[in-house]
């Protein structure tokens, strides 16, 4: 799934679209997507001067967008909860941040996923993310 297809699925846009490509999608089961991290990211100017490290909150956002790929296009999607978060390594310019997301449970407007982000095969972050999704009124 390329960047056009990603933008058809979620509403995030520059400077907050934090995945570049989707590698695998099994609807309601699993998705894998990645972000290429470059020194041109605006946040590296301040996080931190002379020591560029991708902020953990943005790693979470990238993981969240990667996980959202397994669900159908919602009118709006929001993060409703984040549990069991661990940051295990630093993400720096040049890294490819690959997130694997696995569905834990979907119930009504809510869905929960287990997400793991890796760089070069090594885990850099893990979390459980709960989404709240708003769908268009269904026409009978």
């Amino acid at each position: 799934m390329d960047i056009q297809a990603i933008q058809e699925r979620i509403n995030q846009r520059y400077p907050f679209l934090l995945i570049d490509r989707v590698l695998e999608v099994e609807p309601f089961v699993r998705s894998v997507a990645y972000k290429n991290v470059t020194i041109n990211e605006a946040f590296f100017a301040g996080h931190f001067p002379d020591n560029p490290v991708m902020p953990g909150v943005l790693i979470i956002e990238s993981m969240s967008q990667a996980g959202a790929m397994m669900y159908p296009k919602a009118k709006n999607g929001y993060i409703a909860g984040i549990d069991k978060v661990k940051f295990l390594g630093l993400v720096r310019p040049g890294d490819q941040l690959v997130t694997e997301a696995v569905n834990i449970q979907k119930a009504g407007a809510f869905a929960k996923v287990q997400v793991t982000a890796r760089v070069d095969g090594k885990d850099v972050a893990r979390a459980q993310i709960t989404y709240y999704m708003e769908f268009e009124e269904e026409k009978e």
């Binding site: 449970q105 009504g108 809510f110 929960k112």
Partner: protein, 86 residues
Amino acid sequence: MESVKTLELRVKQCIINRLGLDVSADEIEDDAPLFGEGLGLDSIDALELVIAIGKEFDVAIGDDDMGIFQSVNRICEFIRTARPEL
């Protein structure tokens, strides 16, 4: 074969453990509302209960079954229908 009392107690303990509630099982009434003014649970807690009850009692709770989380009695009723042996 489990007694009727035991299933209610198991459900309450399952809820308390999953959500980390600071109450004991005997403080939760069988027919009291769990959400809002009752135990004060929210809609995100409901998703957690789908996971916890589903795993603990080996039942599948679909989107149409979400009404069972109104009370412990309703949850037990659902479990007994799905798993009559309990």
